[in-house]
């Protein structure tokens, strides 16, 4: 009997278990996306943090040096930064609150069938389609105190005696720009909420009606809870955008008069592209990042709650 012939050779042990291979393959599929995200999101953030620790004024390359938290100390002592932060609260919440209210109202209107609804829906989108720089220029012209149509209209109708300098008066400049932003951002809420309204099954309203619910009860107990996920997502997203986007302000007032409409993102741009102080601009961007991370955490917390409700 050949003993050797009867013994089966032991198969070499696999380097990784099947489950591990599967997990590795899955990570490999994610790798291209991770590399792209890392290269376009993570690296710039790390670079900005790195830049914020240096004195880096482009017109003074000889002064380039590591200053640790020097730029952050400067921010704390910079009254314009604190003013801009205060302004950004008025700007962001003033804009988003009214965009939401008016957007919701228009969405409710457009959800009701009537003749020409398609045309109204298309027209409603126009402010959102127009680039914000163009919106800024249009409103700058509308508000022009000497030859703008708004003062002309108010003057002709007898509501105004002396021309009002909408963008040159520090008490009026911010409300005037917020109004322009409301006009621009309202369609975003209208579209989102209209999509949500159309996704609510008619049977729920029918059941509520059969149970004796009136218009306001149906709105409070059916429409609002069903729209909650969309309201939360769109409001938080729009809040982040508004906080982060200085384009309207930059075009209409440049942050003036006397910094009355300055917000941190506009201030960062001024530091980077007018003062060419990239170290300080980078530290301002890092502060903006931290503020927006708080928003994002709030967003994630709120949307998690939403998922549970929806589930």
């Amino acid at each position: 009997m050949n003993r050797d012939a009867t013994l089966a050779a032991t198969a070499p042990r696999a380097l990784l278990s099947h489950a591990s291979w599967e997990a590795l393959a899955n990570y490999a599929y994610l790798l291209p996306a991770a590399v792209c995200l890392g290269g376009t999101v993570l690296l710039p953030i790390l670079k900005a943090i790195h830049m914020s620790l240096y004195q880096n004024v482009l017109i003074r390359p000889q002064d380039y040096r590591f200053i640790g938290l020097g730029n952050y100390v400067r921010i704390v002592q910079d009254p314009v930064f604190w003013l801009s932060l205060k302004n950004s609260i008025v700007w962001t919440f003033g804009s988003v609150f009214f965009q939401f209210i008016f957007g919701f109202m228009v969405a409710l209107l457009l959800n009701v069938p009537f003749r020409g609804r398609v045309i109204f829906r298309t027209v409603n989108l126009l402010p959102w389609i127009i680039p914000s720089v163009v919106v800024g220029l249009i409103f700058e012209y509308i508000y022009q105190p000497n030859y703008g149509p708004l003062n002309d209209l108010l003057g002709r109708s007898g509501l105004m005696r002396a021309p009002v300098a909408w963008l040159s008066d520090p008490n009026l400049a911010m409300p005037a720009i917020i109004f322009a932003n409301i006009w621009r951002g309202m369609p975003f809420f209208t579209i989102m909420i209209l999509a949500g309204l159309q996704a609510i099954p008619g049977e729920i309203y029918e059941a509520a009606t059969v149970d004796g619910a009136g218009v306001f009860q149906r709105f409070r107990s059916v429409t609002l809870p069903m729209l909650r996920p969309i309201i939360v997502v769109s409001t938080v997203t729009r809040t982040i955008w508004t906080f982060n986007h200085p384009d309207l302000i930059f075009v209409m007032t440049g942050g003036g008069p006397g910094n009355a409409t300055m917000i941190p993102s506009a201030y960062t741009l001024i530091q980077a592209y007018i003062n060419l102080d990239w170290g300080y601009a980078a530290s301002l961007s890092v502060i903006l990042l931290v503020i927006l991370l708080v928003f994002t955490a709030l967003y994630l917390k709120l949307t998690k709650g939403v998922e549970e409700v929806a589930g």
């Binding site: 002396a162 300098a165 040159s168 008069p257 006397g258």
Partner: protein, 434 residues
């Protein structure tokens, strides 16, 4: 708001149309000449030239000049890159930091100190001193282009500031016509007399926004004996400066001879305010003369030097558009050939005519349109004009807009006093003397 001046009669309209047509035809013939015959340059080395555009007319004339140069050369070919003026400064700084600047470019004189500080520009002193037009170029141009004892640019055009005004309205309201010896009191009387809010008209279009808001206010301060620097020390918060700024701000706050939009009025607003007949005076360089000729007609406006201040002084700042060569260029001979070509009589004259600034050689600035009425205020201002004191330190350039402008706006709005404004401004300047 209705404005009678914005309506032209049919005859006026037809006359303007015919005149514009004639100008367009003659200009087009000159501008398009290089396209009429094929180019001659073969196997030429390339020169990258950046030019900053703030109006379409400049694009046409510069493109034509470059094409003419290329047609005349066999060994050098210029490739022109047009960049919007608002992005020019930042793009150039970024290109220098990335070690990829163009070979040469057009540059405003107020940037020179900054770029010399970056060690990016070629010192042209030796070449310039041997250049055939060096002796005949106005000395003030060389003064504006000298940084740390070296000449770093060729003067493409030069101008200074003056007051634009409406003689027809001065007559209409029975006021005294300004002359070159007028004073601040005359200026205020004229501004008050030409302020008619019921007609939506204001005496003076003041600039409260943009990079030039502070230098314009400073030019008035010099009329009261103020200075920015004295013995190497910032003295822009001197009593003379404070008193002058109080007077200047009173034009807006107390006398209300300016439009209510002053705190946010930049270049475009002051120029358009005048061309729309809303303001009857404004302070600017000659760069808007051609625009006003088209908008309201050469016969309906004139220019006059800055009024004389209480200290029996007055001032205006030079403004020079320049051509520079970059140190990093690998074809310096080709660049020099192109830059000097642009400064030849015909090219220099054609460019300045379109730009509305003055040629830098008296032989050319004595020709039409520069010897005509709309330019006379600028020509008369040259004897007392000075190089802008804000060119002294490279670190001051960006601060004019980022810190000086908000301070001036706050003073205009009454949030801070003129003294506080100048104390803070002096502090900013002192900290940035680099």
């Amino acid at each position: 708001m209705k404005n009678d001046d914005s309506y032209a009669s049919r005859r006026q309209f037809l006359r303007t149309l015919a005149a514009s047509g004639a100008i367009a035809v003659s200009d087009l013939a000159w501008l398009e000449a290089p396209y009429l015959s094929p180019r001659k340059a073969h196997a030429a080395t390339t020169v990258r030239f950046e030019f900053y555009i703030n109006e379409p007319a400049r694009y046409a004339v510069v493109q034509s000049l470059v094409d003419r140069f290329n047609k005349s050369q066999s060994d050098v070919e210029v490739k022109v890159e047009f960049v919007p003026q608002t992005q020019a400064h930042q793009k150039l700084i970024t290109a220098i930091n990335a070690k990829n600047p163009p070979d040469c470019c057009q540059m405003w004189d107020q940037w020179l100190g900054e770029f010399v500080g970056l060690d990016a520009l070629e010192d042209l002193t030796e070449r310039v001193k041997g250049w055939k037009f060096y002796p005949s170029t106005t000395p003030t141009a060389w003064q504006a282009l000298t940084v740390k004892g070296g000449i770093f640019a060729l003067p493409l055009s030069i101008t200074t500031e003056a007051i634009y005004f409406r003689p027809d309205r001065v007559k209409e309201y029975g006021l005294r016509m300004p002359d070159e010896n007028w004073t601040w009191d005359d200026f205020l009387a004229l501004a008050k007399g030409m302020t008619k809010p019921e007609k939506n008209q204001y005496g003076f279009g003041m600039r409260g926004a943009g990079k030039w808001a502070v230098p314009y206010a400073t030019a008035f301060m010099y009329g009261n004996g103020a200075q920015v620097l004295k013995d190497g020390k910032v003295v822009i918060n001197s009593p003379e400066a404070v008193s002058a700024l109080e007077w200047y701000i009173d034009l807006f706050r107390r006398w209300k001879v300016t439009p209510p939009s002053v705190p946010t009025d930049g270049f475009r607003q002051i120029v358009q305010g005048f061309s729309r007949g809303i303001t009857n005076m404004y302070f600017h360089n000659s760069g808007s003369v051609e625009e006003q000729k088209k908008a309201i007609g050469a016969e309906r406006f004139a220019t006059v030097p800055m009024p004389i201040g209480p200290a029996k002084k007055r001032s205006a700042f030079y403004f020079c558009e320049t051509l520079v060569m970059f140190k990093a260029s690998k074809n310096k001979e080709g660049v020099w050939k192109f830059l000097t070509y642009m400064m030849e009589d015909e090219q220099h004259y054609q460019f300045t005519k379109v730009a509305g600034n003055l040629p830098t050689r008296p032989s050319l600035s004595g020709q039409p349109p520069f010897n005509e009425a709309p330019y006379s205020g600028f020509v008369k201002s040259f004897p007392f004009a000075i190089v802008s004191p804000y060119l002294t330190y490279a670190g001051w350039g960006g601060k004019l807009e980022s810190e000086g402008m908000p301070l001036l706006q706050q003073a205009l709005l009454g949030q801070i006093s003129p003294k506080e404004c100048l104390d803070k401004w002096a502090d900013v300047l002192t900290k940035n003397m680099v």
